[in-house]
Amino acid sequence: MGRKQVIFIALLIAILVLLPVVVKKDNIINLALLVLLYICLASSWNILGGYTGQTNLGHAAFFGLGALSTRFLWMSGWSLLPSVLAGGLLAVAFALLIGIPAFRLRGVYFAIGTLALAQILYITVGNVFSDISSLRPQDLATYQLVPRYYFFLVLALLITGTTYLLVNSKLGLGMMAVREEEEAAESLGVSALKHKLLALSISAFFAGLSGGAFAYYHVGYYPRFPFSPEWTFDSMMMVYIGGAGTIIGPIIGALFFVVVRELLALKLVELHLIVFGILFILVVLFLPGGFVEAWKKMQAAFARRSKERGVKVSFQTTDD
């Protein structure tokens, strides 16, 4: 990382930390919290989908499992952090359940398997826990948004930081090799199965923690709600719109998604789905690297142009 980048990141974190202190409006803090929640989900999806090249269509299952078990443990008297951690581990257990058989096969089996797992859990949880899950009266009486905001902020920093360390490690190098050319990776001694399972476990663990944070945050919801497929597809869309396989991509994607959705929701209500659907198709077709690639291309074009202009200028001065 360059020095400019370090300063920029430090500044960004400082702004995020100070936000609830400076801005006291709950609706703004809530919006920022949602952005952070989606950064968590999108960045965790990106570890497996963006860096390892394995399409997970059931991210909501891991998110939902984290929420379900955290809510259960926390409300039955566990303290918050162990409950959230347990939610993350439960998500990993289910991830391995589907990943171990599916990754032995090439092709779409993993995508289908995760989609099936998520749908089965969505329906089952809906049937078994059909009552709305509300916080206890004593929690409601003392409910504050700010600690929830910080919880998500810490989690988002943890996931982004881990991703950064991961992609600069030997493990991350192996993951990217598996994404690019699985057979070539194998022939270099990179075990594709091992790397996919590790990436999946990390990704599911973070999705589970995010679910736990959601259970801590949300006052009342149907237990099946965090299992609903839109969590998966929204995260995926953010990753692709922002830039898959980059650290900043999911962050930009999440910010863009939440802000645009809020703006559209004011005027068009559910129409934002159509807008994002079209945008997603356009990005996949014309901009496979998302906003991050668009930015890089623009920079490169700009650099070329100013270089050409620089040459021209120097000609003029020699003419003089």
């Binding site: 190098l173 090799a177 690019e180 070539a184 990776a185 022939s187 270099l188 001694g189 990179v190 075990s191």
Partner: protein, 233 residues
């Protein structure tokens, strides 16, 4: 060093290799030549563990490879340059090379091996921070070979290194292969470019329809009437 005996191999129901036996001794440069679809690549895939043979045995320096996984075989010292290179186009040249030194045995000497690879292919050092996808065809092939060398192989398997390259580049690549062999790496070279391969190799095998139909020194095979007619025109 490497010995295949009576290998039969198939993709699902389609048998591709029939009773293939090959031997490569330490320090040799051996070529396996034949036309398209003869089973050359399949033979390499069997050696590097990407395809398990239906029957027959493979041994490498007293290890039996029949049941070993692909990454374990790399660990033992066999490295393959796949057909077309199969470099990681989205990653930098340096990252590609680092991936070559992925196994523990190669990892500890990574920096030293990298220097050696840069000596053989100076072009790779010039381009080390460039995305591999931006390299030319010849540079890609160099990168693929360099990447394989990063694992410090005792035996290097080369699948069609001349594929898609201009004749002048083929000559260069083949010179580099000779040089790598001279520096102590045993080489098994698979080629459709029969004449060039036979001129280069100490010994060669000819494979046809999945069966070994001839073997001998490169010069011998070049003068064989059947080989001349079939491959050299």
């Amino acid at each position: 060093m490497l010995k295949l005996s009576g290998i039969n191999a198939a993709y699902k129901d389609l048998q591709v290799l029939w009773d293939v036996s090959i031997q490569v001794d330490e320090g040799e440069l051996v070529a396996l030549v034949g036309s398209n679809g003869a089973g050359k690549t399949t033979t390499l895939r069997v050696i590097s563990g990407l395809l398990k043979p239906a029957s027959g045995s493979i041994s490498f320096q007293d290890h039996s490879l029949g049941k070993e996984s692909a990454h374990r075989i790399v660990e033992l010292g066999i490295s393959q340059v796949p057909e077309g290179g199969k470099i990681f186009t989205g990653m930098s040249v340096l990252e590609n090379l680092e991936l070559g030194a992925f196994v523990a045995r190669a990892r500890k000497d990574k920096d030293q091996t990298l220097k050696w690879v840069y000596e053989i292919f100076p072009r790779l050092e010039e381009r080390k921070n460039q995305r591999a996808g931006t390299l030319s065809g010849g540079e890609r092939q160099m990168l693929a070979i360099g990447r394989a060398l990063m694992s410090k192989p005792k035996l290097l398997l080369l699948d069609e290194p001349s594929f898609g390259l201009a004749p002048i580049l083929v000559e260069q690549i083949f010179e580099m292969i000779t040089e790598i062999n001279r520096q102590g790496v045993t080489v098994l070279l698979v080629e459709q470019n029969v004449r060039a391969a036979l001129e280069l190799a100490h010994r060669a095998y000819v494979i046809e329809n999945g069966r070994i139909v001839g073997q001998g020194t490169g010069e011998d095979l070049l003068s064989f009437e059947s080989v001349r007619r079939a491959y050299l025109g």
